[in-house]
Structures are given as structure tokens and as C-alpha cells.
């Protein structure tokens, strides 16, 4: 049965390949020739993702893929081509297309040159014209301009300023997309999953902006090549490394220092980039007068490295990796944790129309904690999760009207949820191991982007995933009270359970005119692994657990509809998007759930349904002296899960009715930029006490329904001022000072609200808020040579 399904699928997927090829079908007798190549930055050779090629005579075009590759097949003739990319001078060229032609293009960044009159590229109405919605791309340059907490430029915090993306709590890098949970975001760094994208208990993200090219977030309309998470995909791409000249960039910040070196190993052929970062505020701890602080060791560091090598026009390879670690040590306690990713990729052109990428991926997240050895209570605790993945992605540029993507992937998951044991002979603890989990996630997909005519574009695709639980494994069987009654042990290599799921994706865009379009989208997503976590902002102690005989995969159906309109010659981009998302097999955890070191974790899980809907408004001015955006979201997200809140519907922990942000950058002069961002959102839903009982000398709370109160509304203004050094033609050295202030008007936003008993008056209780960051200035010095 399984085999038949597979054969049917393969046939299904290969059909558009055959049917869509005009050369082979009788109707398209006219021979087409292909113009293809790469689009890169002239200055550093970085491939440009999403750069456009426009054919003036045909009023059609294409965009470069994530490897900077483009391809367009046209009937023979002479055409005027324009290659363009936001923030770059476009290039126009007449080419007589009489044979397959390779044209590699290098664009010049216009960031250095400030022209009063903005000349917008031909295809600047891309956000209106492109059959893509619920998607935002930010370049590392844009991200850098946003004022940051303690001056640490942060990709994830930048994403949180977009409509529909919300921070889980103050200063946290965890985020919720369109009402989903933080573990429903697939975060990829050069295609490798980053399981815990945070440093320092979530206050900083693992991404070092100096090593990053750009980031794209898909909040819906998730492209068919991605799967495995319900809510969003965050696709972070690392720089390839400058293949023209050696460059060092770095910075000395308030809490960390960075250094990036990049350059050609073989000019225009092989390049590398190596980027490192380390915090150093722990160096100041010994100066503290408080003994409890003095004896601590707290720091994090990370490295990004990448080598790109162009073998020839048809073959390129990339090796990239990330390694990061957080360390916390003191007299009693030791902890260290971190992510590690490794990606090996091979770009291959089978023909000028068929672009292929083969990838090997390894991702790892692990943590270890323990106490000082040699005591009766000494212990260590380790946990690790590891993924190995293989992928093949094909991009077939059939005609300018049809762009087919298809591919396969396989991921092998290995989870070691936890092993705790005594440390030293004196320790009384015996070894305790939560059984490992092993699983395969195989996917196959195909999707076509089709321009039906100048007004209508369609996009349709399908993704199928086979998820397999593999032994060795111990699976507990639960009764209706979620108590484990017995367990089944499976041998090593046994495939004892599987789920086969099909995800259709569909999108359409209709252009009323050059400036105005409507887009609609439907996507289904499945999620086979999830995080055992019930705190709002997330801890480093992640326990991921797979779907199993007890837990079915989660699913989401999302419908979106949007209007896109540009104003004043594409100076302003505006959009309104509505979404409605229905989720099944949504998980939450019972009251007082025990999530760590629990071999019967599945007994703590409750399963039900969730629903999220909202409208997102975005007004953007992408460039110019004054640039930035204003976003506003009104939304609701709720769950109905038997066994939680007595089965009554409750608000999801990340439901924020109103969420607004304003991001503005103003270039006062060529050397001075003033930036500001302001955020506002409705307080998170919380559970408060509505009664109390005196028992055993304490006052115990009796709670309201789950999440029936709200935290106070949150708002905050951050500003920064960047002063650049003078550009001199023959000087390589340049630098800039960034002065920033987080929370300029010093609002005491509540991070948590505590209810406590007054120590002096035994029958008196009071509420108290904890706030984290008041007015917080920072200085960063950046350099480049």
C-alpha cells in the first residue's frame, strides 16, 4: 500500500515536469533560448537573493533564487533586459537572444551615494506584482539600522517589529507568528534548523548580523519546499564571503565584541568568511561588591564560518557552519549549552534551465548542567538533540510563465531528552535516563509558479511527508486518565509507527493595475516534532519530542487574503492582509506538568484545537532619506483543549489584541543617521488569583480561569544615532559610532506580576510587578578595513 502511494506520488510530481516542458509538447513548436546567470554585488561578490530581471518588450521577468541564480527562457529575438535590486544601481542591456546565453551580472550598491531624487528600478512594484504574500525579507543592512537592546544588533528582534510577529515577552528572542507557539517557527541558518535561537536565556539571538546576508520570514504562504512547522519559516542566509578583496569588519559593543574576516582564497572563485563574537561583561563581575555576583562566570560566544567555491559556471559548493555556546558557572552550579549547525551544499546546473541544489545538514542543540562534584547531592544532567538531513532541491525555469520547484528531503532525528546521574562516588543519585527518541522525516514536494496572463498569477504545489518513529524505543501506554499503565519496548531499527501527511499549498494574485493587486492563499502545514515547554518566554532547557503512537502530528490550515497597493510612484508600499488559521492536534500541558526528566512526558500532554485570526496593516517606505515602516495588527488566538481550563476555550498565551510598531530611519547627512522604533502591544493574557486560602502558615492563591486577565499594555521607544567616519577614496579604514537608548521614556513595562504576602503584616497580600529594562543606553563602535 505504501509503495503504491509512493509511485502515485512520483507520477503526480513528474507530471508537470513532462507536461510543462514546451519543447516536448506539440503545441509549443517555437524554440526558446535561455538567458541565465548569477546576480551579485560588484563590491564583494555576494550573491543577491531576490534580485530581479525585467524584459522591457515583454513586460515580464524573473527573480534570482537564494543562490543568486536566475534563468529566463524566451523566443529568439532582441530584448532589453534590466537587472535590479533594491539599494543597487540597476543595469540595462540589449541582448540579441539567438542561442542559450550566460550573463553574470554585478550590481553596484548605491548606499555610498546619496541621491536626493530616488530613481526606482523598473520592477519596484514587486510587492504588488509578485505572487507572494505574508512574507517579508529584511537585509542585514536594514536590521543594523534598528536601535537594539544594549546595542546588540538582532535579527529576531527586527522580525518582531513586523506585523503578525510578536515577542513572547520583554526582551525575548522567542516569538509567536500569527498566534502560533514559538516552537512552530522553523528557523533555518543556511538551511540547517536552529533549535534554540537564543543566547543568555533568550535575551539575545544566536545570529551575528555581521555574518548574515539577509533573512526572510514566511508567516503564511509557506513555500512548498519548506515543511515541518505550523506557523512560520525564518530563512536566514549567511554571507558567502567577499571574493574580491580581504575585508575585516568588527565592533566593540556594550556587552560583546565582534570580528569578521572575509576574502578571496582564489579571486572570483573561492571565498571565505569567519565571524566571531563574545560577550565580556563577565570580566567586570569581579569588580562587584556583591559576593554573589562576583563569583559568577557568565558569557556566550559564537562563530560563523563559510567557504564558497565556484568550480565552474555549472557547479558551486558551499560549506558553512555555526557554533555557539553559553556558559554559566558559580560555586554551586555549572551550565553550558549551545547550538551547532553544519551545511554542505552543491549547486549544480543540469542545464541553463534546471538549477539543482544538494544539501547535507547537521544540526545539534545540547545542554549540560550540574552541581559541584564531590558532594552527596552532586549531579550532572545532559540533554541533546541531533538532526542529520539530506536534501535535493530542483528549480526548473521552464518558461517565463512557469517556474517549477520540486525536491526530496530526509531528516533523521535523534533525541536524548535527558540523562541525570550522580557526580562522584559520594553522590547518592543513581543514573536516570529518559529513553531516546529516533525518527525519520521524509518529504517530497513539487510546486509551480504560473503567470496565466499579465494580470493573474497562480501558484500551486503539494508536499507529502512520511514520518516514522524508529526503535529502539520505550512507548508508554496511557489510560483515559493519562496514567501510564504499561509500556512497549521496540527493538533497534524497528519502524513501529508512521504518519503520512499531505500538505496542499495554493496561491493566486490578480493585478488590477501596476499599483494595485489582490492576493489569496491557502496552505496546510504539519508539524511532527514539538517542544515540551509551558513557560511564556522559553528556557534553555528544551525538550523536543516527536509525534508517536500517543501524539498525532499537529496540523494547521491557513487562509489569507490581502490587498497590496503602492503610492507615489512606488515610494510607499501598503498592504492589508487578513488571515484565518485553524489548528488541529494542538498541544498544551496539563496543570503542574512535569516536563523535565520525565519519561512519561506524553502523559502530561493534552491535545485539542486552536484558532487564530487577524488583520495586518503595513505601510512601508523602503528607501530614501527617510525610510522605515509602520505596522499594525489586530488579532485573536485561542485554544480549546479538553483537560485544560475544564475544557473551556481560553486565550493562547501569545494572544495580543493590538500590536503596533513604527520603525523610522532618517539620514540627516551622508554620515549621520537617526533611527527610532516604537512598539505597542496589548498585555499578554495571564491567570490571576481571585481568592485565597490560609494554609500551613502561608496564603495560597485560588485562580481565575486560565488566561482570563491581561498584563498591562506594553509600549516602548528606542532611538539610535549613527555617526560614520568620512569616506576617503584611498583609505580602507572606516568606522562608525552607534549611540542607542532602549526604552527612551523609561516606561516600567511589567515582565511579570507577582502576588505576595506582606512579611510584616501576615494577613496582607499585595501585587507587585517586575520590570526588566528601564532607560538603557549603549554605545557601539564598528569598524571596517
Amino acid at each position: 500500500m505504501k509503495k503504491i502511494t509512493l509511485i502515485v506520488l512520483i507520477l503526480l510530481f513528474s507530471w508537470p515536469l513532462i507536461a510543462g516542458t514546451p519543447d516536448k509538447s506539440g503545441n509549443s513548436a517555437v524554440k526558446r533560448y535561455t538567458l541565465s546567470g548569477s546576480i551579485s554585488d560588484k563590491n564583494n561578490g555576494e550573491q543577491l537573493i531576490g534580485a530581479t530581471l525585467f524584459v522591457k518588450e515583454l513586460k515580464t521577468g524573473t527573480t534570482s533564487n537564494v543562490y543568486g541564480f536566475y534563468s529566463i527562457s524566451l523566443e529568439p529575438g532582441e530584448y532589453t533586459f534590466t537587472w535590479a535590486f533594491l539599494g543597487y544601481e540597476s543595469i540595462e542591456k540589449k541582448i540579441k537572444l539567438t542561442a542559450n546565453t550566460t550573463q553574470n551580472v554585478e550590481l553596484v550598491s548605491k548606499s555610498q551615494k546619496l541621491s536626493e531624487v530616488e530613481i526606482r528600478a523598473q520592477r519596484a512594484n514587486e510587492n504588488v506584482a509578485k505572487n507572494e504574500m505574508s512574507t517579508v525579507k529584511l537585509s542585514s543592512k536594514t536590521i543594523k539600522e534598528i536601535p537594539a537592546l544594549m546595542g546588540e544588533v538582532d535579527i529576531i528582534k527586527a522580525l518582531q517589529l513586523l506585523p503578525g510577529v510578536q515577542a513572547t515577552s520583554e526582551g525575548a528572542t522567542g516569538f509567536s507568528v500569527r498566534g502560533g507557539a514559538p516552537d512552530q517557527n522553523l528557523i533555518l541558518l543556511d538551511e540547517a534548523t536552529v533549535y534554540n535561537a537564543s543566547h543568555f536565556l533568550g535575551f539575545f539571538s544566536v545570529f551575528n548580523n555581521d555574518a548574515i546576508k539577509d533573512v526572510t520570514i514566511y508567516k503564511g504562504d509557506i513555500p512548498v519546499q519548506f515543511g515541518g512547522r505550523l506557523s512560520s519559516v525564518v530563512d536566514v542566509r549567511m554571507n558567502d564571503g567577499n571574493n574580491k578583496k580581504f575585508v575585516a569588519t568588527g565592533g566593540i559593543g556594550t556587552i560583546s565584541s565582534r570580528l569578521t574576516v572575509e576574502g578571496p582564497l582564489v579571486k572570483d572563485q573561492t571565498s571565505f568568511i569567519l565571524s566571531g563574537r563574545r560577550t565580556y561583561f563577565d570580566l567586570f563581575l569581579p569588580l562587584s561588591s556583591d559576593e554573589n555576583i562576583r563569583d559568577n562566570q557568565v558569557y556566550f560566544y559564537d562563530f560563523n564560518a563559510k567557504i564558497s567555491h565556484k568550480i565552474n559556471e555549472n557547479n558551486r559548493i558551499f560549506l558553512s557552519g555555526y557554533f555557539g555556546r553559553d556558559v554559566f558557572n558559580n560555586d554551586f552550579f555549572r551550565m553550558n549549552l549551545g547550538n551547532q549547525t553544519f551545511t554542505m551544499r552543491w549547486n549544480h546546473l543540469f542545464s541553463q534551465k534546471l538549477f539543482t541544489n544538494f544539501t547535507f545538514i547537521q544540526s545539534k542543540y545540547d545542554y549540560q548542567l550540574g552541581t559541584t562534584p564531590g558532594q552527596a547531592n552532586s549531579f550532572t544532567w545532559k540533554s541533546q538533540l541531533l538532526d542529520y538531513g539530506l536534501k535535493a532541491d530542483f528549480n526548473y525555469f521552464i518558461t517565463p510563465e512557469n517556474n517549477l520547484k520540486f525536491g526530496v528531503s530526509s531528516i533523521y532525528h535523534v533525541y536524548h531528552p535527558g540523562r541525570a546521574a550522580g557526580d562522584g562516588d559520594n553522590s547518592l543519585f543513581t543514573e536516570f535516563i529518559v529513553p531516546n527518541n529516533y525518527a525519520f522525516e521524509h518529504s517530497i514536494y513539487a510546486g509551480n509558479d504560473q503567470k496565466v496572463n499579465n494580470k493573474l498569477s497562480l501558484k500551486y504545489g503539494i508536499r507529502a511527508t512520511l514520518f516514522q518513529n524508529i526503535g529502539s524505543a520505550t512507548i508508554y501506554n496511557y489510560n483515559t486518565n493519562f496514567e501510564a499503565i504499561d509500556s512497549t519496548v521496540y527493538k533497534k531499527g524497528d519502524i513501529f509507527n508512521h504518519y503520512f501527511r499531505i500538505e496542499p499549498r495554493f496561491g493566486a494574485a490578480y493585478m488590477f493595475n501596476d499599483k494595485f493587486s489582490i492576493k489569496a492563499n491557502y496552505s496546510r502545514t504539519y508539524q511532527f516534532i514539538q517542544l515540551a515547554q509551558n513557560s511564556t518566554s522559553g528556557t534553555p532547557l528544551d525538550v523536543w519530542f516527536p509525534a508517536s503512537p500517543n501524539i498525532e502530528p499537529q496540523s494547521a490550515d491557513q487562509f489569507s487574503l490581502g490587498f497590496f497597493r503602492n503610492f507615489l510612484g512606488n515610494t510607499f508600499e501598503a498592504s492589508i492582509e487578513g488571515y484565518y488559521k485553524l489548528m488541529n492536534n494542538t498541544i498544551d500541558f496539563k496543570d503542574h506538568a512535569q516536563l523535565l526528566l520525565n519519561e512519561k512526558l506524553e502523559g502530561e500532554v493534552r491535545v485539542g484545537e486552536a484558532k487564530a485570526y487577524g488583520v495586518e496593516f503595513l505601510l512601508k517606505k523602503p528607501d530614501g532619506k527617510l525610510n522605515g515602516w509602520i505596522s499594525y495588527t489586530i488579532s485573536r488566538s485561542e485554544r480549546t483543549i479538553p483537560g485544560i481550563n475544564d475544557g473551556r476555550t481560553y486565550l493562547a498565551p501569545f494572544d495580543k489584541t493590538h500590536n503596533a510598531s513604527v520603525v523610522l530611519n532618517y539620514r540627516i547627512s551622508n554620515r549621520t543617521t537617526l533611527s527610532a522604533n516604537w512598539v505597542y502591544y496589548t498585555g499578554n493574557p495571564v491567570t490571576f488569583p481571585t481568592g485565597r486560602a490560609n494554609i500551613g502558615g502561608v496564603i495560597a492563591p485560588i485562580y481565575s480561569d486560565r488566561n482570563s486577565y491581561r498584563m498591562p499594555d506594553y509600549h516602548r521607544l528606542d532611538v539610535s544615532l549613527t555617526l560614520k567616519s568620512k569616506e576617503k577614496p584611498n583609505r580602507k579604514w572606516s568606522h562608525e559610532w552607534v549611540f542607542s537608548v532602549y526604552n527612551l521614556y523609561n516606561r516600567h513595562n511589567a515582565w511579570s506580576i507577582q502576588f505576595s504576602k506582606d512579611e510584616d503584616k501576615p494577613n496582607t497580600t499585595y501585587a507587585e510587578k517586575v520590570y526588566l529594562f528601564g532607560f538603557l543606553p549603549a554605545v557601539t563602535f564598528n569598524f571596517k578595513f
Binding site: L201, N377, F432, S752, G774
Partner: protein, 281 residues
């Protein structure tokens, strides 16, 4: 597991660097009134006490209202004792001083003749608890820990091969130090089942706490209670729900799990007690 507490200490550390607190006014709704039961029977031969009060609104800021005139009984299936209300302490019901519990027996508390919801009809509440056996303590030792700034009471005994839950009370010069329900250490033996305890620290006299500081020559008495898993959960829940929460390590607040039926709040516990004493040196 202690690690979570340690992690909370880590959060606390970050909070030292950054966070501040501020009292705020919050308007809270009221909920209906529930009966609050705090009762126990142990292996000691003594007056066993059941205390009955009522819940109040969260910011009530006054003594909890006592529940008087109830008919309170404890039974072990064959024998039944009726408790009498202490005339000096309304809401406090006591057995005769000759009653003691026997390990392995299940004790049931029955409360009648109370009308908490004020509807003119009385309600009946019951709660049962198995009295867990416990191994006797081999010995205790004391050591001054400079890293904690506290005297540590070290326990030497065997854990039984069964699933056990323990509570440790500490007396200094015959005065109970762990005098609220959240102060004694409670542990389950998941990670050391059947092992020798090797002198693990189970109670502390902290220098910084008023009245608690230990001096050489002080007499200490360690009480170890064998409690049920449900009672362990009850105390652990109270600890969690009264120690403050933060978005990082706390799950959503959740009501404390008791063992009294009919919607009452609280616990009727049964436990065995083992003791060992020593002198600080």
C-alpha cells in the same frame, strides 16, 4: 528536582543585574467561597488536629473566617474518632491525646454540618489518605557550610526500594524552624531509589535568617516524615504558587491539588514520623 530551583537562582541573578520591582494596584474579581481543610494524622500518640476555615477574596487582608460547629470524624475503617472543637480556638478540631496512626492503614476524614455556600443546606466533605511507612534514621551529622553560610544537617539512612516521598522538619533547641508548610525540604526518591543517603543535606540553619542562626552546642532534632505522593504534590504546588512566577521558568499558574472532595480546598494527610537528634559541632 532541585535544578529548577537552581535555575530560578540563575534568573534571580539576571534580575539582580537588571530588574526592579514596583507595587501596583490590580483589580481582581471574587470567586465563590470554599471550605479550607488542614488536617493530619501521624504515627505519634498525640492530639491530631483538623483546622477548618473559609477562603476569602485575594486582597481580603484579614484573618481567615473560622468554620465552627462542624462534626468532624476520622476513621481507619474499623475504628472511628470524633474530634472536638477547641473552645479557645474556633475552627480547630482535636482528637483525644491517645490517638495514633498505624502505617499501612487508610484514614478517612469526614466533615458534616457545615454550610459554606450559605444556601441553608449543610454539605458533607470527605478525604482519605494512606499512612506511609518509613525507615528509621541511622544517624545525622552536622557541618557548618561556609559556601552556604549555614549549618547543614546531613542524613544517613537507607531509602526503601518502594516509591517514597519525604518531608524534613528541623527543630533547634526544641523550637520548630521549618514552621510554614513551604519551608521543609520535600523530596521524592526518583533519582536515588533504594540507595544509601550518604549524608546528603536535608535541612539547614541559615545565618541570615532571624532566629534561625545556629551556634555550637545547639541541640537539633530532625524529623523525617513518610508522606504520600498526593501530599508531596500538594506541598510542592503550594511552594510553586506562592514563590512568585516569571515568564521564563514558570508554567501557567494552576490551582493547588488537594484531596478533599466536594470542591473544598486543602488536604487531610497521614504520615509516619522518624526522628534523630544531635548537637551542632
Amino acid at each position: 528536582m532541585k535544578s529548577l530551583k537552581i535555575l530560578s537562582a540563575l534568573v534571580a541573578f539576571i534580575l539582580i543585574l537588571n530588574a526592579c520591582t514596583e507595587r501596583i494596584d490590580i483589580k481582581l474579581d471574587d470567586t465563590y467561597t470554599r471550605l479550607v481543610v488542614e488536617g493530619a494524622i501521624s504515627t505519634d500518640t498525640t492530639r491530631h488536629i483538623v483546622k477548618l476555615t473559609k477562603t476569602s477574596s485575594y486582597f481580603a487582608n484579614e484573618e481567615p473566617p473560622a468554620v465552627s460547629g462542624a462534626i468532624v470524624k476520622i476513621s481507619d475503617g474499623t475504628q472511628e474518632w470524633t474530634l472536638t472543637e477547641n473552645p479557645q480556638k474556633p475552627g480547630v478540631y482535636e482528637t483525644s491525646p491517645l490517638v495514633y496512626g498505624v502505617p499501612g492503614k487508610t484514614y478517612t476524614l469526614t466533615i458534616r454540618n457545615v454550610d459554606i455556600d450559605n444556601n441553608g443546606q449543610t454539605e458533607e466533605y470527605t478525604a482519605s489518605s494512606l499512612l506511609q511507612p518509613i525507615n528509621s534514621i541511622d544517624s545525622i551529622r552536622t557541618e557548618y557550610r561556609t559556601d552556604y553560610d549555614a549549618w547543614e544537617i546531613k542524613l544517613y539512612t537507607y531509602d526503601s526500594p518502594m516509591e517514597d516521598h519525604y518531608l524534613f522538619n528541623l527543630y533547634k533547641n526544641n523550637v520548630l524552624q521549618t514552621d510554614t508548610i513551604t519551608e521543609p525540604l520535600i523530596v521524592n526518591d526518583k533519582l536515588f531509589n533504594g540507595n544509601y543517603t550518604n549524608g546528603i543535606g536535608v535541612a539547614w540553619l541559615r545565618d541570615e535568617k532571624t532566629g534561625e542562626k545556629g551556634n555550637v552546642g545547639d541541640h537539633v532534632l530532625l524529623e523525617i516524615w513518610g508522606i504520600t505522593k498526593d501530599y508531596y504534590n500538594f506541598i510542592s504546588d503550594i511552594g510553586q504558587e506562592t514563590s512568585g512566577s516569571n515568564p521564563m521558568f514558570s508554567g501557567p499558574p494552576a490551582n493547588i491539588r488537594g484531596n478533599v472532595n466536594n470542591g473544598a480546598f486543602g488536604f487531610f494527610a497521614a504520615y509516619s514520623i522518624s526522628r534523630a537528634s544531635g548537637v551542632l559541632k
